[in-house]
């Protein structure tokens, strides 16, 4: 794989690579700054545009946007006390108080430095683990892939927010949708209801656009008002001080980067978890924790290091096994499939250059985002003063036209609208959109490998192979654990 290192680097450095990198980063930051919008939305909207592009340039644009989102969210967390994304929520606690004390520049530059170095850390871990992962996955066959897909679905439902029951129901709903269309293994056409459009099943591009862009835009429009409720008005001094602060607290930065990486590797656990875990660790490990919450720079460094290193970690299961490590990875997985790549071990063997481009852009995107953030934060923040009723129609059009642009078929636009309504309803009634997305992406793989296993080994094929059996036991444990824990806690409370 490393023989492709220089060619992959050339892809980013040769024109129009830098243009796409800057464009993607700027778009990612804009989406990150706006609450309600984030990685899945920017990927869903950029996705149709990359159709037909060179695959490596498409990765530069998409990963550049995805890499910049967390830092975009941090800018609004620091300057207007509103996290742009869930993974920047903990940054508000000390970021905004620092801005109020006139140290906004220090906070933003510390966040930028921690983000950038955190991303580098995550990319290094990814680079080290990928060759190891290649050896492991050569032991995998159809039963193991099926169990991995099942485990990926189960983990997501077990850790997704809200009711576990609804999470599982959402995953089953997504799997049901993935059975629509022509099935190459069984040779049958299912659930087309006489429509030619549904022969290909549910198309991922319009589905993602509907689930993330259209659904969120509906929510944004309904909420009305401006996003910025409070804001910092002052100068942005102290940039150098902020950068130095990261190096003065390097131990904390390193530990939080490790936390972010580990959280990222576990499929289904989102960035918000790494953010809060890192902040909690910073408070607990501090000798003078009383300053946290009122403008302690460590309260900015810790969550920022974690929420950027987690992207490198999340790419580990995504690239090695084809199991998404987070919601953004699930959308990215769909993008890779539609662009003709097969995530998993084959991707590292057949497209090593693309894998390396992905890693390089993860780092480069964060560097560019940091530079834009330090010098352009004030300008970008004007977006949060635009009324949501003006922003939402633009997002509707970007989404619906993006869906139309892919194939020029009205069916795609209708599908986006249907999924948009579904997304809004699911959000309102506590059903998990993440589970639906991941089920849509993994559903076909799960069905194909299920039938292939049955044809070759029969039902015992899932249970006689040690890796497959181990994955099955882990899956069962993940689904049953919340119920067992609740029963144990109840017994404990009744006995006490």
């Amino acid at each position: 794989m490393f023989e492709s290192a220089i060619p992959a680097l050339m892809e980013i450095l040769t024109w129009p690579g830098p243009l796409y990198l800057c464009l993607g980063t700027l778009l990612g930051m804009m989406f990150g700054i706006l609450p309600g919008l984030g990685g899945p939305q920017v990927l869903a909207l950029l996705f149709p545009i990359t159709y037909g592009m060179d695959i490596n340039l498409a990765m530069v644009l998409l990963i550049g946007a995805m890499a910049a989102v967390p830092f975009g969210g941090s800018i609004s967390a620091i300057l207007i006390n509103t996290p742009g994304t869930g993974q920047s929520a903990a940054t508000c606690f000390d970021g905004f108080p620092l801005a109020q004390k006139g140290k906004a520049g220090m906070a933003i530059s510390a966040a930028a430095t921690a983000s950038c170095l955190g991303a580098v850390f995550g990319a290094v871990i990814l680079t080290v683990l990928l060759p190891v992962g290649r050896r492991v996955v050569l032991l995998f066959s159809y039963p193991e892939y099926f169990m991995l897909a099942l485990m990926g679905l189960s983990v997501i439902t077990a850790v997704s927010k809200g009711s576990l029951w609804k999470g599982i129901a959402s995953a089953i709903f997504g799997l049901m949708l993935s059975t629509m269309g022509y099935d190459p293994v069984t040779g049958s056409v299912r659930y087309t209801f006489g429509s030619d459009y549904l022969w290909d099943g549910i198309r991922l591009v319009p589905a993602f656009i509907g689930l993330f862009a259209v659904g969120e835009a509906i929510d944004l429009f309904i909420s009305r008002g401006k996003i910025a409720q409070s804001s910092f008005k002052g100068r942005m001094g102290g940039i150098g001080e902020g950068i130095l602060a990261v190096f003065r607290n390097f131990g904390l930065f390193f530990r939080c980067s490790v936390i972010g990486c580990i959280v990222g590797i576990i499929p289904g656990v989102g960035g918000a978890v790494s953010n809060f875990l890192a902040y909690g660790h910073a408070v607990q490990s501090s000798k003078n924790s009383g300053t946290f919450g009122s403008g302690d720079i460590r309260g900015v460094i810790a969550p920022e290091a974690a929420n950027n290193s987690k992207d490198g970690g999340a790419l580990v299961p995504t690239l090695i096994f084809g199991i998404p490590g987070s919601l953004e990875m699930a959308v990215l997985l769909g993008v890779l499939i539609v662009l003709g790549l097969e995530p998993g071990p084959r991707m590292m063997l057949e497209n090593p250059e693309t894998v390396l481009v992905l890693i390089y852009v993860l780092v480069a995107g964060n560097i560019v985002a940091s530079l834009i953030g330090i010098f352009g934060a004030g300008f970008l923040l004007k977006l949060t003063h635009v009324p949501s009723t003006l922003l939402a129609p633009v997002i509707f059009m970007l989404g619906l036209m993006g869906a139309y642009f892919t194939n020029g078929i009205l069916g795609d636009v209708i599908l986006s609208l249907v999924f948009g309504i579904l997304a809004f309803a699911m959000k309102r009634f506590g059903f998990s959109r993440i589970a639906v997305v991941i089920a849509l992406v993994l559903g076909r793989l799960a069905q194909k490998t299920f039938h292939q296993t049955l044809m070759l080994w029969g039902i015992k094929g899932f249970f006689v192979r040690p890796i497959s059996l181990t994955l099955f036991i882990i899956t069962l444990g993940m689904v049953l654990f919340p119920y067992l824990r609740a029963t144990m806690l109840k017994k404990k409370s009744t006995s006490s």
Partner: protein
């Protein structure tokens, strides 16, 4: 805390009919339809959809009973089991945002349902506008459809001024022309 109080309040009600009940019913019907249709396929083709359909129908039926009859204690326990990372007392960001909005608007939580039905009317109107956009897209050039949609939604739904609505419509249309026709050279 508020979530627990709402849960206790709901448990005292005999039957509830709200958006959540309707959504669960719709999902249950979806699963039932897919289950029955799967019986037409050959045995290998129907194995997975039939299993998923039966499971999904059962789960949504239980969810529906739990939502519609809050007094059904055993269903409530199964259905409201929190996931690994959830704590019942910790409000979500959405709940905090809703609460802050209600406090700001000086509205008591009991009036939340009224707010929600107004929201659904707004959603329906937005959906109708987007449907109109799709019809227009089929009939005329996409730039005209985009301009019309942005203008009418901004003017009528967002109640913005004529100047703002027209300016936004022109800017968005120009942006789309540059993006799709000039940069991406699409043949829409």
């Amino acid at each position: 805390m508020e979530k627990r109080m709402m849960t206790v309040k709901r448990a005292n009600e005999r039957v509830v009919f709200n958006g959540a009940v309707v959504f669960c019913f719709v999902l249950m019907v979806f699963f039932l339809i897919f289950t029955f249709v799967s019986l037409e396929y050959n045995s290998r083709a129907r194995s997975i959809p039939l299993t998923l359909g039966l499971l999904g129908s059962l789960m949504m039926f239980i969810q529906l009973i739990s939502e519609a009859f809050p007094g059904a204690g055993i269903f409530h326990k199964i259905v409201h089991q929190e996931s690994l990372l959830d704590k019942a007392d910790t409000p979500t960001a959405e709940e905090e945002k809703d609460k802050a909005k209600l406090i700001k608007e000086n509205v008591s939580p009991s009036k939340k349902n009224d707010l929600r039905s107004k929201e659904w009317v707004q959603v329906l109107r937005l959906v109708l506008w987007m449907t109109g956009f799709i019809v227009l897209l089929a009939l005329v050039d996409y730039l005209l459809a985009v301009a019309a949609f942005v203008f009418w939604v901004t003017k009528i739904e967002a109640r913005e001024s004529w100047v703002r609505s027209i300016s936004l419509s022109i800017c968005v249309t120009l942006g789309f022309y540059l993006l799709f026709d000039v940069v991406l050279n699409s043949q829409l």
